[in-house]
């Protein structure tokens, strides 16, 4: 695991989540930020800030990224979503194209 292979996602409150780029790419939006040539400063620093997404939701999103990777590798487990998180989470998912 190398530092260059990770990306830091920062929530509205400034909480940071360091995840594998591979996982972050589950989001089409983040994928575009990281791969579009010369476009985003995010690509250079390996940091993306989401002023609209709270830490609870961002962490859940990250968990989903990893769940999604595992799922694509054939591991079928439940991804539990607490009902009180559903609205915020689907908005974040919508924004992130996840």
């Amino acid at each position: 695991m190398k530092k260059e292979d990770t990306v830091k996602l920062i929530s509205a409150e400034g909480m940071e989540f360091v995840i594998d780029k591979e996982a972050a790419m589950v989001s089409q939006t983040i994928r575009n930020m990281l791969t579009s040539p010369g476009g985003f400063a995010e690509a250079e620093h390996g940091e993306v800030t989401f002023p609209e997404i709270s830490a609870v939701i961002l962490e859940k999103i990250c968990q989903y990224f990893y769940w999604s990777l595992q799922y694509s590798r054939g591991k079928e487990t439940e991804f539990h979503i607490e009902p009180e998180l559903t609205l915020e989470l689907m908005m974040a998912a919508n924004y992130l194209h996840t």
Binding site: M1, K2, K3, T6, E13, G14, M15, E16, F17, V18, I19, D20, A23, A55, V56, E59, C62, Q63, Y66, Q70, K75, T77
Partner: protein, 108 residues
């Protein structure tokens, strides 16, 4: 990589991919590449039990499962400093501080 764990320190959470057969030391080496802290200075604590993870044991041995939350503390100089001021939404952490077997600051 069959699973991942969430390693939390201060305001940062590291998602670390790993296998149940890996040892605590393996995890610490992965963390070393991310945070430049020597393996010996790291201490990992499984959040839902409060157990300190032992270097030589595997994750499976210590009941560290997929999506588990592990707290990371660092030794600064000759102190083990528990840097532990998480956001309030993790009541588990608060619980841990209250029930941790070590005092917040230990003299070597």
């Amino acid at each position: 990589m069959a699973m991942y764990i969430r390693v939390k320190r201060s305001k940062t959470t590291y998602f670390i991919q790993c296998d149940p057969t890996e040892t605590t030391l393996d995890i610490k080496q992965k963390l070393h590449t991310l945070i430049d802290q020597p393996v010996n200075d790291q201490r990992l604590i499984l959040m839902n039990t409060g157990d300190i993870l032992e270097d030589s044991k595997t994750l499976a041995d210590q009941k560290v499962e997929n999506d588990a939350v592990v707290a990371l503390t660092l030794r600064k100089g000759c102190f083990f400093l528990l840097v532990f001021f998480f956001c309030s939404f993790h009541f588990l952490e608060m619980f841990l501080i209250a029930h941790h077997p070590f005092p917040v600051i230990l003299i070597c």
